[in-house]
Amino acid sequence: MQLSHSEFALAPAAERRRFVLQARPATLDVAARALGLGDTFAMLAAAAAGAVTALRLGPQEVLLLLDPAGADDGLSALRAGLAGVAHSLVEVSDRQVGLDLSGALVEAALASLTSIDVAVAAFPVGMATRTLLGKADGVLWRTAPDRFRLEVWRSFAPYLSGLLDEAARDAVF
């Protein structure tokens, strides 16, 4: 069975505003509730409600991806919920870009870049984590069995796209 390169697609991901929310874990729980995302952000997982998706990247770090349309509501809910509580909310909408990776070869292509196991069993849909891809950091979020959203700092995007493209070509053989 030979797969063709067309079974890997790399495209700009849907436009999102981005914020890095950092705080002590208990405060992050408050934030989760404020955003209507449950009682806590589960580690290394995405949680979504309305315009807001939250990726819990570390014990004190959440990356918020907001649909521009409803972003302001989400942000005000968050700000209201965290008022008076120590935290850091920093907009990074332009710091990074989102790449949408899809197709049957997506796992193989990613496996050429990251040392973590990207098989569905180990990296289920909804999991999100920062990892090292080649020589660049990126946040990987699996949105479907054959689909990832990759968030990378702006200037690393050409490098990562180039690597992924080569990796996908190689994966055919």
Binding site: M43, L44, L57, G58, P59, Q60, E61, S115, I116, T129, R130, T131, L132, D137
Partner: protein
């Protein structure tokens, strides 16, 4: 390439981490009251053990957290990792022997 258990993210390969040297070397609360000798001990002198080391790692390309690890430098086998701030765990002889194996 070592396999390191981040207390927050689970097992990841070494290239995601940055080693932070020996652990449990607290910065003196009032450095200016330390003698030159004491300051040098804090800053530069290390046990550099051949055997169990308590060391710091940062999950630099992951959750970005520092944590501690106990590892045997003769085998590179980890005994455990644990959160920053916890004291160096006591381990029993059998565990130590297993790490040295």
């Amino acid at each position: 390439m070592l396999l390191i258990r981040c207390p927050y993210c689970g097992e990841r390969s070494e290239i995601e981490f940055a080693n932070g040297g020996e652990a449990h070397i607290a910065r003196p609360a009032d450095p200016m009251s330390r003698t030159d000798e004491e300051w040098a001990q804090y800053l530069y002198m290390r046990d550099n053990p051949k055997g169990l080391i308590a060391e710091r790692w940062r999950h630099a390309h992951g959750c970005n957290r520092f944590f501690n690890a106990l590892r045997d430098t003769r085998t590179d086998r980890f005994v455990m990792t644990y959160e920053m701030g916890r004291p160096r765990p006591e381990i029993d002889a059998a565990t130590a022997a297993e790490a040295a194996r």
